[in-house]
């Protein structure tokens, strides 16, 4: 049986300019402690025609998840306009929130998204090259499309944690003024972004 039920998804900051990050407040319920993290993804469908243009806006691990009702806000950057076909920039598309456990997708929440120019002039004469900064994104929050999938929730294949990762005696202290390390920190975030880009590159 499904150990995790999504109770609600609230679309925050909606409608908003195209470049604003997506924000979803997700409430879910878990009937048993989960031994692994949940992985949530926001996928932006760039074009109705093909999955090719799907962008994984972000993927985030959520955990630890004990039994109970939980909520979190999933924020992800706006889609990369460079990956959206010009013809599909304005109009209706879809954003999907998926959740996977142990690599198995068990729920998919889809919303229609309408991107349109807020200025009448642009609306009447849309530029050939879409001007994303003038676009407003409106998510049809009142009508989520929820699809649930059956997956295997059990811990049949228990894998052992790396044994060497248990030295609790050391805590690192950080230098507040350590600017170089700070910049390194940002490079990590870059990496994760790259990973993200790669994963949707895979789709292409």
């Amino acid at each position: 049986m499904a150990k995790v039920q999504v109770n609600n998804v609230v679309v925050l900051d909606n409608p908003s300019p195209f470049y604003n990050p997506f924000q979803f407040e997700i409430t879910f319920e878990c009937i048993e402690d989960l031994s692994e993290d949940l992985e949530w993804k926001i996928i932006y469908v760039g074009s109705a025609e093909s999955e090719e243009y799907d962008q994984v806006l972000d993927s985030v691990l959520v955990g630890p998840v004990p039994a109970g009702r939980h909520m979190f806000v999933f924020q992800a950057d706006a889609p990369n306009p460079g990956l959206i076909p010009d013809a599909d920039a304005v109009g209706v598309t879809v954003v999907l929130i998926t959740c996977t456990y142990r690599g198995q997708e068990f729920i998919r929440v889809g919303y229609y998204v309408n991107n349109e120019y807020t200025e009448t002039e642009l609306r009447e004469n849309p530029p050939v090259k879409p001007d994303f900064s003038k676009l407003q994104r409106n998510i049809l929050a009142s009508n989520p499309r929820v699809t649930r999938f059956h997956i295997n929730w059990e811990d049949n294949t228990e894998k052992l944690e790396d044994a060497e990762s248990s030295n609790p005696n050391l805590q690192s202290l950080l230098a507040t003024d350590a600017l170089p390390s700070a910049s390194k920190g940002w490079s990590t975030s870059e990496n994760s972004l790259n990973v993200m880009l790669e994963s949707h590159m895979d789709c292409m």
């Binding site: 609230v10 959520v62 979190f72 807020t118 609790p168 700070a182």
Partner: protein, 981 residues
Amino acid sequence: MKLLKPTWVNHNGKPIFSVDIHPDGTKFATGGQGQDSGKVVIWNMSPVLQEDDEKDENIPKMLCQMDNHLACVNCVRWSNSGMYLASGGDDKLIMVWKRATYIGPSTVFGSSGKLANVEQWRCVSILRSHSGDVMDVAWSPHDAWLASCSVDNTVVIWNAVKFPEILATLRGHSGLVKGLTWDPVGKYIASQADDRSLKVWRTLDWQLETSITKPFDECGGTTHVLRLSWSPDGHYLVSAHAMNNSGPTAQIIEREGWKTNMDFVGHRKAVTVVKFNPKIFKKKQKNGSSAKPSCPYCCCAVGSKDRSLSVWLTCLKRPLVVIHELFDKSIMDISWTLNGLGILVCSMDGSVAFLDFSQDELGDPLSEEEKSRIHQSTYGKSLAIMTEAQLSTAVIENPEMLKYQRRQQQQQLDQKSATARETGSAASVTSVVNGESLEDIRKNLLKKQVETRTADGRRRITPLCIAQLDTGDFSTAFFNSIPLSGSLAGTMLSSHSSPQLLPLDSSTPNSFGASKPSIEPMAAAGARPAGDSVSKDSVNATSTPAASSPSVLTTPSKIEPMKAFDSRFTERSKATPAAPALASVAPTAVERLKEQNLVKELRPRDLLESSSDSDEKVPVAKPSSLSKRKLELEVETVEKKKKGRPRKDSRLMPVSLSVQSPAALTAEKDAMCLSVPTPALKLPMPGPQRAFTLQVSSDPSMYIEVENEVTAVGGVKLSRLKCNREGKEWETVLTSRILTAAGSCDVVCVACEKRMLSVFSSCGRRLLPPILLPSPISTLHCTGFYVMALTAAATLSVWDVHRQVVVVKEESLHSILAGSDMTVSQILLTQHGIPVMNLSDGKAYCFNPSLSTWNLVSDKQDSLAQCADFRSSLPPQEAMLCSGPLAIVQGRASTSGRQAARLFSVPHVVQQETTLAYLESQVAAALTLQSSHEYRHWLLLYTRYLVNEGPAEEGTAEGVAASHWAEPPLPAPLHRVSGTA
């Protein structure tokens, strides 16, 4: 008799396999096939009983539905108390449901609000043991046990007081077990299986009492269920499908000697279900007739594959009533109301029928007292036949009853503590809510929620727990009462967005969904003339009232072609099931470059277009990423900084550990960032947090949870400390707020406000009265029984709480932090209670308690380390495998040092000298740190080096021998090494 088929009781046409009426008669449950899962539905009984209620729109018919079973549900059974519902299905599971008692209906997310659950039933236990479909479940009298049977040929007895404990697995059937019934007196349980046998088991030792096969010899094993039943007086057990002279019967088995002389005959096909009326009846005393007391009798309903139902009275030779063609398909289950006058029957055809009898037809039901008197006169005093009230005062006549009374007492205790716990946790929830309304919490959720990075750099959010499940009762009804529609989004928005956005949010939802789809194409919409005022900024534009009219008309046109997206909603994406593409870093480097270029191209344009957001959008460009994350937690930033330090990442496990460990730890670390001005050392203090969790170790799994200001007792706020070690939990409360916590496998300590430090043993015993620290805490640390406290005034103390001695007494960090802008980057407490400080300048000092000195144990800039080359002396296998405090402190430095040494050309003699000096210092450092393993490692290396390189002066070797070999506990191998030297 009245007959009713409530059509609204259905599983959308799917078969209903089981039905059971709640003991209080207000509701009933059905189980069967759902859309693509098993389905359990709880229905309101009153619309079945009362026509008015059926018509009343305000009276809900469906109370709750649960789609949690993965496959068809074969059986649903209420416990006798009515508190629980057990369901068993083809997914091999038994789920036990309990009603959650918070108010307000909830909807199933995404189900367009129609399937509102009026009642909340939650799965409190999942019972896993069967290796095949679960066919039937049955609660024992007084709900002490729950039995389940399965096509895996077994019957499992679960301890209903302590799920999921299994008391016994009854093996003996050689075919699919398809029905169960408890003896109403609690001495036996009977099961019927496809192996053409009916077995009776004793509850005393869970052994087989008897196996009855004769009436089943001719049976073919084709009935879906074989639900047998025991008469309420305990005299008769009636089987499902049996054969007598090649005719289908329900076999009556007498308790006395398990004789099989009688049967119910008449059904044309196999009997699937037999169900006794829970009441015992006696003939109605008619006025005027002779007052001859008639023998009490029982009533039994029999359902069959022939789609007909018969109702029998044990005092009559013929059935009381037979109803043919009641359903289109086989009858699957029968349930009597507790008053014995109503009966619900369900069928494979997916419908349910209700039969309502009058007392004239059935007779006068005996009261519970009379019933139990019959039981007692027949069986003596026994557990199951006594009412609760009688039991507590009854004279104990057998061990079973003694056990029962003890269990009752225990249960009462449990319940008390449970209610105590529940009120406690409820208080914790409400305090969260009171201190800060849920709306506030939600408003700040994004900022408040803890986000960390995993070792591979991925974002990890620790979700905010807003209700606990284990109590079964949610105190927070917030989300249940909130509809899913846009109104919520609206309220959320209004709380989030600036006032100028408000008009927008009333107009745009309409524009999107409300109006009918029109054929108007997109382009036409764009060309539509509109008298809107045009403003430049997008936000302003939408806030103008004019924005509403065109958008209302244009948007719907685009909804129609959205069919194209349908598959996206329902099909798993190809990318999703696979693990994220972490592996393919190298080949994608080119693409990444492309990506960056692309982004660069885009950037100037974005900026030109004057949107303040454009900068934030660019994913890869460095400066933008800074602003992009501006909103997020500072904690995250800290986390990243830490991750960014290349040296420690791979070498020092605690770093990665801390990444796993939840939020608070990082926050704590945040607080530990020491920036030390020269004259007066002042270390940062951890600020009070509402709650945090700290993982102490992963093997054994142990973590500490702290919740501040949990409950207020007479105006005093209490803080709760909870420690979970491999599932075992203890908790305690403290009077002041907990600032930081630390733990080891032996002790847990917390530092509170008012400079109090409390120490507990790993099992929750307070080891000491609170220690008063000289100044507020900065960092707290535990290893074994050693507790280290670093105060804000930069003094360090270490205590051995086991032996209750001080190891380091208020030692100032002045001497090591004397430098201008030095900070403590790492802190370590060895197993022997020796504190080690790693400073930002790469030096590491340990405090030597016996000499009361700070000793330099590592220096990254040490030229000795840079030049030392002892690779030749390293044993081939164990190249730097040595681990310990010294290795942790020094990190990879030694490796890089060796590499550097190879690059520089250093005169051989100098190299020898530096190497020797380095090795000497390593040996000494290991010794000071009392790290025997490392000491041995370095001493071995040193000795090997002496032997291999053969330094000129003999004195050194002798010195080594003199000073080190004489050290008391020398490992045996060392003697061998010295021998070869």
